[in-house]
C-alpha cells in the first residue's frame, strides 16, 4: 500500500507542459478551431477565455484526447497525444458524476478503471476527499449534495488519479457566485500544494484573471488565438488582497476591452 502511494506522490512533483501546434477542428461545415498554436509551461495555471462558439471546450477535449484534431497536434511533455492518458484528468462543467455511485465510488472511478487495488483506492480517496473538504460524505450520493459539493467530488476524482495536468471545463459555471468564490480559493490552495499544470476553460473574466498566470483569448467562429494576457498579480492570491487591488481591476478591464474589440 505504501509503494503505490509514494509513486503517486513522486509523479506529482513533475508537472508536464502542454504544446498545442497548429490545431484545427471542424464539425461538418462548422469550423470550431482554426490553427491554434500555444504552449503552457509545466506547473503553470492557464485560462482560456472567449465568447461562446469559440471552440474553447473543443480545444480542451482535444488536449484531453477525447477528440482528434483535423490538423495539427498536441504534445504533453514532448509526447504527442493520441488519446486519453493518465497524465491528464478532466473536471466537467456539469460535474459528470455517476448518479448511482456514492461519493467514494465516484472519487475512485479513475483508479478503478486503471485497476488500482481496493486498499490503494480507499487510501487515496480518503486523502483527496479530505483535501476537497468532503470528509464524512463518502457514502452520500450525488443527488444528496449541493452543486458546489458535487463539483468538489468532480475535483477529488481528478486529483485521485494524480495527473500532472488538470483540464477544467468551466468547472464553476454551474454553481452560485458565493460557492464559486469559495471553490476558486480552494482550487488555488490545492494548486499551490500539488503543483499541477492547469488548463482552465472559462467564460468569466474575473475568474480567468483571478486564477491564472496567463489568459489565452480566443475569437469566435472559427476559434483563433486572439491575444495572450500575462497576469503578473502576486501569489498567493486571495479575494481580499487580489480582487481589491487596482492591478486586478485593470487586468479585468483590459480583458473586457479585448473581448469587446472582437465583437
Amino acid at each position: 500500500m505504501v509503494g503505490p502511494l509514494t509513486n503517486v506522490q513522486r509523479s506529482a512533483t513533475h508537472p508536464l507542459g502542454i504544446a498545442i501546434r497548429g490545431v484545427s477542428k471542424a464539425f461538418g461545415r462548422v469550423r470550431a478551431l482554426d490553427d491554434i498554436t500555444l504552449s503552457v509551461e509545466a506547473g503553470q495555471f492557464v485560462a482560456i477565455i472567449g465568447p461562446s462558439g469559440c471552440g474553447k471546450t473543443t480545444l480542451l477535449k482535444i488536449v484531453a484526447g477525447l477528440l482528434r484534431p483535423d490538423a495539427g497536434r498536441v504534445e504533453i511533455g514532448g509526447v504527442p497525444v493520441t488519446g486519453p492518458g493518465p497524465d491528464r484528468a478532466m473536471v466537467f462543467q456539469d460535474f459528470a458524476l455517476l448518479p448511482w455511485a456514492s461519493v467514494l465510488r465516484n472519487v475512485t472511478f479513475g483508479l478503478e478503471v486503471r485497476g488500482a487495488p481496493r486498499p490503494v483506492r480507499h487510501a487515496v480517496a480518503q486523502r483527496v476527499i479530505a483535501k476537497v473538504g468532503l470528509a464524512g460524505f463518502e457514502h452520500h450520493y450525488p443527488h444528496q449534495l449541493s452543486g458546489g459539493m458535487q463539483q468538489r467530488v468532480g475535483l477529488a476524482r481528478a486529483l485521485a488519479v494524480n495527473p500532472q495536468i488538470l483540464l477544467m471545463d468551466e468547472p464553476f459555471a454551474s454553481v452560485d457566485e458565493q460557492t464559486r468564490r469559495l471553490l476558486q480559493d480552494d482550487l488555488l490552495t490545492l494548486w499551490a500544494d500539488e503543483r499541477k499544470t492547469v488548463l482552465l476553460v472559462t467564460h468569466s473574466m474575473d475568474e480567468a484573471i483571478y486564477l491564472a498566470d496567463q489568459v489565452f483569448v480566443l475569437s469566435p467562429r472559427p476559434g483563433r488565438l486572439f491575444r495572450i494576457i500575462e497576469v503578473d498579480l502576486p501569489r498567493p492570491r486571495s479575494s481580499q488582497t487580489t480582487r481589491a487591488s487596482a492591478a486586478f481591476g485593470r487586468l479585468v478591464e483590459d480583458l473586457w476591452g479585448i473581448l469587446k474589440e472582437m465583437q
Binding site: L66, M90, D94, A96, L98, P99, G110, E112, V113
Partner: protein, 253 residues
C-alpha cells in the same frame, strides 16, 4: 409507484393496506345487497376459495400455471434484456429492428395463440410461449431505451479516465440502463400474467385458465371469482419478486 415499490418503510405500506381493506368491505356490502348473481359477497368468495384450495385441484392448477409463467417469463426476461442491450448499443441494428418491434408492441398477440396451438398441440408449451411473447417485447423495448438514454457526458467522462469498451459497458451503460430495464421487467410481469391467462383459457385444458373456463360455462360465479383472485395473487407475487430484485439492484434512488 416507485416509492411504494421500493418500500420506504412500513408506514408507506399502510395506505395500500387500508385501500385493500376498504375494497374488501365495499365488495362485501355490495354483495349483501343481493343485487345480482354476478356480485357475490367477499366472504362467500373467500369461503369458496378456501374450499377449492383445500380440495387440491386449484392449488395444483395454480402451481402448474406458476411454473409455466416462470419458464416463459424467465426466458423472455433473459432474452429480452440481451436483445434490448444489443439493439440499444448498436444504433444501426436498433433502427433495422425498430418497425418490427413497434408492430409486435402494438399487435394483439392473442391472435398468435391459435397458431401456437396448431404448432405445439394442446400442451403447456403453448402457455409458456404465450407468456414469452407477451413479456419479451416490452422488455426489449425498455432495455433498449435504457441503453440509448445513457448520458453522453458520463460516457465522455469515463473515456477521459481511460475506460475501454468493456469498462464503459459495465460501469456506465449498464448501471445507467438498469432502472429502465427494471421497469421493462415489471411491465413484463403484468403482460406475462395476461399471456398466461389468455393462453390457458384458449387451451381450456391447463392451469388456472381451465378452471376459469369451466366455472364460467356453468355460471359458478363465486368459484369464478375465487379463481380470478388466485390469478391476481399469482400476478402480485411475481410483481413483488421483480420489485425485490429492483430494490436490491437500485439502491441509490
Amino acid at each position: 409507484m416507485n416509492r411504494v415499490a421500493r418500500g420506504e418503510g412500513m408506514a408507506d405500506g399502510l395506505p395500500t393496506l387500508g385501500a385493500l381493506v376498504a375494497l374488501m368491505v365495499a365488495v362485501e356490502v355490495v354483495g349483501r345487497l343481493d343485487l345480482s348473481l354476478f356480485l357475490p359477497t367477499f366472504s362467500a368468495v373467500a369461503r369458496v376459495w378456501w374450499q377449492l384450495l383445500q380440495a387440491g385441484p386449484l392449488l395444483g392448477a395454480a402451481l402448474k400455471s406458476l411454473v409455466a409463467f416462470g419458464i416463459g417469463f424467465g426466458a423472455a426476461a433473459a432474452g429480452g434484456v440481451v436483445s434490448g442491450t444489443v439493439l440499444g448499443r448498436f444504433r444501426l441494428l436498433g433502427q433495422v429492428f425498430d418497425p418490427f418491434l413497434n408492430v409486435m408492441m402494438s399487435a394483439p398477440l392473442v391472435a398468435f395463440v391459435p397458431v401456437l396451438i396448431t404448432v405445439f398441440g394442446i400442451s403447456d408449451v403453448v402457455v409458456i410461449v404465450t407468456v414469452f411473447l407477451f413479456t419479451f417485447f416490452v422488455v426489449v423495448v425498455n432495455t433498449r431505451t435504457g441503453f440509448e438514454g445513457t448520458d453522453r457526458r458520463l460516457v465522455e467522462m469515463a473515456q477521459s479516465y481511460g475506460a475501454g469498451e468493456v469498462q464503459l459497458f459495465l460501469r456506465v451503460y449498464l448501471p445507467s440502463a438498469l432502472p429502465a430495464i427494471m421497469v421493462g421487467l415489471q411491465l413484463g410481469v403484468v403482460n406475462g400474467v395476461k399471456g398466461l391467462v389468455v393462453g390457458e383459457m384458449l387451451l381450456a385444458l391447463v392451469g388456472l385458465g381451465e378452471f376459469l373456463v369451466r366455472y364460467a360455462n356453468v355460471f359458478l360465479i363465486t368459484h369464478l371469482y375465487a379463481v380470478i383472485a388466485t390469478i391476481m395473487a399469482v400476478a402480485l407475487l411475481a410483481s413483488y419478486a421483480v420489485q425485490l430484485v429492483d430494490r436490491v439492484l437500485i439502491r441509490w434512488k
